[in-house]
Symmetry: C2
Amino acid sequence: MNAETRLARIETYHRLCREHGLRNTIQKRIILEAVLDHEAHPTADQIHELVLRANPDVSRTTVYRALENFVRLGLITKACHPGKVVRYDRRVDIHHHLLCLRCNRFVDFEDHGLDRLEIPDTSAVGFEVSDFSVQLRGICRSCRETTRREESP
Amino acid sequence: MNAETRLARIETYHRLCREHGLRNTIQKRIILEAVLDHEAHPTADQIHELVLRANPDVSRTTVYRALENFVRLGLITKACHPGKVVRYDRRVDIHHHLLCLRCNRFVDFEDHGLDRLEIPDTSAVGFEVSDFSVQLRGICRSCRETTRREESP
DNA sequence: TTAAGTGCAAAAGCTTTGCGGGTAG
DNA sequence: CTACCCGCAAAGCTTTTGCACTTAA
């Protein structure tokens, strides 16, 4: 995430705090920065670990609370994946994902063709769609290489 | 799920058991049928509840083990969603999802236009894509109605 | 016969909650 | 000042594991 986008997001955070009567505490600020600096799709606990480097006194509970807060404000999102632990995502714009069916690796994938996908009519089911994302499933490079090595030893 | 598809899946299960040297036990059979009969995206615990109706002696542990087994065999899949609990899906064919950003409702969505999406080139990242799915995010009917009621009381 | 599968109990891991005290606005 | 927020400890869920016993093939 480039410095400009990062700064803009932090400004948005301050604005949303003012608008919603929320407090801008040291802890929340550190937690937000930790998510923004994490490229992958971190769990609350992974964020907590990062946060501890900046301030060893921030509790796990506060991290859980702040992250849910940020999601509600639309500052970050939750990643949609098949695992059993919540993962957060600093990205709020349209992007897509690759999922490895063997090792569950879950990474971002950029493609302008996919971005231009035409959203179908969902009025029949009463849904008002605002956003979408394509998930591509398959086998990642390292898993394919592992398979090849096993098959021809 | 129509009776024909259901039967075919159970036959596939028997074939996969033979091919992999796995046993066809009463428990696994009941658990498989419970997933096939569940239209939504059930958790392991929801499946366990259903299973208990058919046989009150099947343990939760066995349900967890069997479901992971079925996923590995490709008999069922795991649903990709933002929650903190694993959800299973009896569907293994191409289909799409609607996610309500307010209440987290997560439902299937059929659209042949989306089915024909052209899979982009992922060779640069080393992924071999076999499958895809589109997730449409927005607000569901009942959440929109709740909002409207709150705004104009 | 024998390796896969099962149930139980216990452990492990993730997330939320209640509460007393702290602090930003 | 006061409403929001914090840290702690404890509870609440979900999921996995070790082990002795059972059973399908």
